[in-house]
Amino acid sequence: MSEKRKKGRLISNQSDWTFDLIEEYNREIERIAKEVYHLDCYPVQLELISSEQMMDAYASVGMPIGYNHWSFGKQFVLTEKNYKRGQMNLAYEIVINSNPCIAYLMEENTLTMQALVIAHAAYGHNSFFKGNYLFKIWTDAEAIIDYLIFAKHYLAECEEKHGVEEVEDILDSCHALMNFGVDRYKRRTGGTLEDEPLVQSDRELSLQHHVNELWRKLNINIPQEKETGSQRIPPEPQENILYFLEKNAPLLKSWQREVIRIVRKIAQYFYPQRQTQVMNEGWACFWHYTIMNHMYDEGLINDAAMLEFMHTHTNVIAQPDFDSPYYSGINPYALGFKMMMDIRRICESPTEEDLQWFPDIANSDWQKTLDFAMRNFKDESFIGQYLSPRLIREFRLFSVLDDDREENLKISAIHDDVGYRKVREKLSAQYNLSNREPNLQVYNVDHQGDRTLTLRYYQDKNRPLSDTTDEVIKHLHRLWGFDVQIETVDNEGHAEITHRCPMSLHEELELG
């Protein structure tokens, strides 16, 4: 790169940042991102914060305004402990999917690091938030900040009216079910987050009315009709458990329904992030790498800054091997970054193998190809589509089959000709959230009898539910107000009740 490096205008050769320098860096990075690489971004808002504030932001899982809950306190305490012990570097950046896109810059960072963070978060993540289809469908960048403020105020009000503990109980229960508070396949039509606060009070009334109506009508029914089951609740199995409870739990007060709704909305807001970790980080890393190199080529930053950047960058995208003590799964930064770089490589200088595997994108315009990939995929499909044999070899990926009926683990695929497709398919499946999370759905309510709520767990590959299920079902019970049970349905379709709350006397005795 140094041959083509122009003698340009060096912005600064100092390592401490100032507001003027940050502004100047941002101006250059914005120019490069938008004019040279045509990234489509929300307006950027850079906020300088201290490390303590970064830990705060961390603790509230990246929400700029969080409601109060002990679990955030716990998170903070953990973060602080690790940070002080020096075990963990604070993330260099946190970025909020909002319009304008808020990126935090930590005051301890050097000027080069600030530039890296600006490129990574304020333009990389930012354009991803704006462009990726999941974010487009599921999140309202315009309204999220206002909604969070509403949520915080609403919960504070509830605490005042009903007591901290009451609210905490509901929140605990909701958090336990947060992963089951999202719509996976279809976005509910209706208002946006923006309207939420406005219609909230109306909803309180109508919702309660709806529930009352439901239960009143049902009680009129005479027992004999039970078997005909003309009216089923829910009419179809419901995967969004929190949604179901919000709408149908008989004993909840209207403010409690609203609390469930808030948790649900926030879970939904974060859902796309959980599905696009590899892509999102890969995209952001790709762009900070590309932009920083571009700045270097233009002579905007000097060798020292470039070396510092490379050092950090290398750390971020490091992938320890499975047998390393530092291994904790596949590093999404590493995989994502390498895949993005690989796509560019395939576009620009494909090999024979690439021409075979990726005839569509080989020799195409890399910017358009990457842009298309960013917009239209999530981790699962992105890997399924673009993971190349070359990368599989580079990572030396292999697949391990763990079947508890066998004595040994089995290596089911490695980086060889027969293995490429298998590895790719399996890695893709590994990022499929619906594979990772148990398929648990609200199945039935015994609305003519004792109101028992039945959920069904459709078992896949013989995997049981975790031990924590017994705890979570207590939370379900708290929200539902009546008996709750989980039926596990195995591959052959046999249903068996595996979890129940409250436990029957018989079971309790057994445990005791």
Binding site: E47, A59, G73, S328, L401, R436, T468
Partner: protein
């Protein structure tokens, strides 16, 4: 153009509320951890916070996920020697996931959730619902200790407080004021005299008259007193009650042969509690360790708790020593004096009455509070009965029996329970 906002001055501690929530929620566990921690502390270590460990299972937030078992298939990077179809032994359960086990290097593994609480949080938890007894009385006593504070000037006072500058200024003013009619007349006469003297020939008679009058007036002016009682100004001092912000705590322990190390441990914990508690209420807390068997000796902390003596027990020796130390080093007007005595109840039979007399005459009147704990689980002996009399006579005395370690905190709690208002 991007907005750049400096948020660094915005409220820090956004999570402070959440931290409080965490503490509140796990109060029981944290309190347990706090009272466990007390046993490991040095008696005078109150500067540090405390590391709290609570069982991790209590703070986990359960979520449903796939449990272990069934078929799992995972992709890992960094293949070195495996080929497809190879079989590998299952790694140990404890080390599952390769290096991904989460054992931490500081000793607290995954089964403990540890964090630091600050000194204040620690003490708050420890002494929740406790109050220093007789604090009100302390103030009454403390009023005997005063500092004089300047409070302007007054017209009365003792000679030593005379404010010279102000007094002289007033004297001067008074003199000018009183002399003013004479002075005026004087000036007139002097003028007239001058005129007469210039006139030739002299009017001897008139000059003589003017001179006479002048000398009379001058005598009058001179007769005005140089200083009058009316002029006196004194610096005024008012006594202001001096809050006594220092306390001394006497730890008295029986170290005779009958006191086992276990008994002493219990005593130590009790003393630590007391020390911590006092140091919360007073800026400065000194501790005097007195140990005794048949004779008493002032010692340092180390010796106090860890050396062992044999022999009989004469409690009064310690009380006498304490009395002397109070007299020599801790005048009651400067010090709040607390005492805690731990013993197994053993005393030389004739000595108990002496103890009672000492308490009545030369100890209890000077003390803020005297706590006596007896550590054993047998019948009470003579000392207890004599102390019961002290208990009846003085509200500032209290006594309790501790049977085992678990009772320390409850007993302490009871001794210092907040009085119902």
């Amino acid at each position: 153009m991007a907005m750049i906002i400096d948020r660094r001055l915005d409220g820090r501690n956004k999570s402070a509320v959440n931290r409080q929530r965490l503490l509140r929620r796990y109060k029981q566990q944290i309190k347990k951890s706090v009272s466990d921690a007390i046993n490991k502390r040095s008696i005078t270590d109150t500067q540090s916070g405390e590391k709290i460990n609570i069982p991790a299972k209590d703070v986990t937030e359960p979520v449903i996920h796939h449990g272990s078992g069934g078929i799992h298939e995972h992709i890992h990077p960094g293949n070195k020697e495996f080929s497809e179809g190879d079989e590998v032994r299952r790694p140990d359960q404890s080390a599952q996931g390769g290096g991904g086990s989460k054992a931490s290097n500081s000793g607290d593994g995954e089964d403990e959730f540890g964090f630091e609480i600050s000194k204040d949080e620690y003490l708050d938890l420890l002494f929740e619902e406790l109050a220093l007894p007789n604090l009100v009385k302390t103030k009454v006593v403390a009023q005997s200790a005063h500092t004089l504070v300047r409070a302007g000037f007054s017209n009365t006072g003792v000679a030593s407080n005379l404010n010279l500058a102000r007094t002289m200024r007033r004297a001067k003013g008074r003199k000018i004021a009183i002399a003013s009619p004479y002075s005026k007349r004087c000036r007139e006469l002097e003028e007239m005299l001058e005129q007469e003297l210039e006139r030739k020939p002299h009017n001897e008679e008139k000059i003589g008259r003017l001179r006479d009058e002048l000398s009379v007036l001058r005598a009058r002016i001179d007769a005005i007193p140089f200083i009058d009682t009316y002029d006196l100004k004194f610096n005024q001092f008012v006594p202001e009650p001096k809050p006594i912000t220092q306390a001394v705590m006497f730890c008295i322990m029986d170290v005779s042969g009958s006191m086992s190390q276990a008994t002493k441990d219990i005593a130590k914990r009790f003393f630590i509690l007391l020390y911590l508690f006092l140091s919360r209420s007073y800026e400065k807390t000194e501790v005097v360790f007195i140990r005794h068997h048949t004779s008493a000796k002032e010692v340092d902390e180390e010796e106090f708790f860890y050396s062992r003596e044999t022999g009989g027990t004469i409690v009064s020796s310690a009380l006498k020593l304490m009395r002397d130390i109070i007299r020599d080093r801790y005048p009651t007007e400067d010090w709040n004096i607390y005492a805690a005595q731990a013993s197994d109840g053993d005393n030389w039979e004739d000595d108990s009455a002496t103890c009672r007399d000492l308490m009545f005459s030369s100890i209890m009147p000077y003390l803020q509070y005297y706590a006596y704990v007896e550590i054993h689980n047998q019948e009470h002996q003579g000392l207890w009965r004599e102390y019961e009399k002290v208990d009846q006579a003085f509200g500032t005395f209290s006594m309790k029996q501790i049977r085992n370690v678990e009772e320390i905190y409850p007993v302490f709690h009871e001794l210092f329970r907040k009085e119902e208002a």
